[in-house]
Subunit: 345 residues, 2 copies
Amino acid sequence: MTLGSLMRSEIGEQPAVLAHATRNHAEAQQVGELLRRSPPRFVLLAARGTSDHAALYAKYLLEVRLGVPAGLASPSTLTVYEARPDLRDVLLVAVSQSGGSPDLVETALRARACGARVLAVTNAPASELASVDLHVDVQAGVERAVAATKTYSAELLALWLVVEAWRGGDVRRAEGVSEEAARHVDRSAEVAALAADLARYLDGNRLVCTARGYSYPTAREAALKLMETAYLSAHAFSSADLMHGPIAMISRQLPVLAIAPAGAGATALAPVLASLRERESELAVLGANAYRAPGELGYTLREVDEDLSPITDIVPLQLLALETALARGLDPDRPRGLAKVTRTW
Amino acid sequence: MTLGSLMRSEIGEQPAVLAHATRNHAEAQQVGELLRRSPPRFVLLAARGTSDHAALYAKYLLEVRLGVPAGLASPSTLTVYEARPDLRDVLLVAVSQSGGSPDLVETALRARACGARVLAVTNAPASELASVDLHVDVQAGVERAVAATKTYSAELLALWLVVEAWRGGDVRRAEGVSEEAARHVDRSAEVAALAADLARYLDGNRLVCTARGYSYPTAREAALKLMETAYLSAHAFSSADLMHGPIAMISRQLPVLAIAPAGAGATALAPVLASLRERESELAVLGANAYRAPGELGYTLREVDEDLSPITDIVPLQLLALETALARGLDPDRPRGLAKVTRTW
């Protein structure tokens, strides 16, 4: 079998997965409407790995679109330290592809025992996590590659649909995401060329991804894909955090990949891009044309609604990780020492 | 002037700073007692860089010791996206050495306009942030080195004192931290030897720090110090997150530094240490003797209360960053492109 064929095939399934989930949004809409009728005061999000980046995306949606304060849970406080916080009026959102990681199941059960309602967002409606309380199935179909791709974009879409229904918005606004994902898949050759160009700067096995706002989860997820398939030490920083220390390590031996789709996030990112250019960093920008400089490596993103943009911006970055792994002679379908379902306690 | 003499001198000031702040705890105690009388339902923590790790430490204290749900704020939601969440019953804790970063000041002001109470924890009682609402001065004295050291441990102590007073505990339990910090400073030569040994594995300019629970902020702060002074691509992962993907990149070219003071966090970390040893990773453990293996690089931590341990465990790690920078011919007092106060928007 060709190296990485599983991962490539599942990246390519995303237009169909997103089209299916956009049409079949009744479950997400019902959960959103229920939360609209009896909203929590505060949302805690619990997840690991790729799903943690979906949770971070949801945090931005909840705060910006809904005005509900939200935070990422530290599962160890409930499990390792057996904390019993007062979680009345709290919604715990647990995001997990498999629905099976013991520490997440335990976190959900303990949160409920402390008074929280629990919403599980999984790709496994028969899992233990899915049965705790409210559940939304992300409907991505069986994912076989170890590196999660289609379950990530499907998690983002499911979370977007819940929040949009919760705020009484128009869930039909998501109807374009499937086509947008398809456009990215059609540009695979362009991403492969970018990966080949970028490879010249990856002698040190190091990379920094940066973004601001809605795209920060995209930068985190891109870095994770590059870590687990191409074994790069790929850091992700919000551009504000990058300036508070890590910027010191940036040099020509440490390239920077910025994610800058059109929107307020990229407007806030722009001064950091200017600063990186002043330092003569090796910079590649995956973003709107306005944020790309002539002659710089990059990939142009069409303008879409900024809150929906992360659902599809990840597609070229998944392809970039795949192509970078292949160019380094690695099989992205067999990351060293990883299994599909990680069980942590 | 000797390279790194500012940073070394401020690391060495920590026993005196902690002794002074432990004795002069009236302000922290008053704020804690006030919060005990009228507690918030939720806490949001806002900070950048080193102070963000102090905020993360506070999150564990709040959830584990107090049972108050807490989350790290994403300042961009209030500033870049101008979200107006309902923050009644919320305490926003802003942690900042300088009290001067515009996005933090803006976050604090906007949070208050949305109904939150604001507690600023700073080393700058005359700063704009300190004047917003409640304030605790961390009393570290002027910090001149760009890499924050004494303000970090002082922030942790101030946050611990507030939480301990809030829960009606015994703030005198902190009386040993100054002596414990002094013991670490006295072991500087031992840390220098560890840095020299570790240097053999740092050809790739890469390192991973890992820990669980209360020590996760310590791992994050150690990684930041190594990034900003020694220009290493130093990642930090909670040991649970490490297993969800990044573990794939670990190889003999990518050493791992684990932080494992005695306590529930290290008990949960132990299986991950075993897994790293099975993979024949280059592992160094800064921790209790029970978590160190014969012949492995490391540094032994005496047993202290786990919740207080991060205040002093960071001292040998600050020294490790300093010595690693010096061994690489860098001046930790002049990190490339950093100023003492970072202003981000």
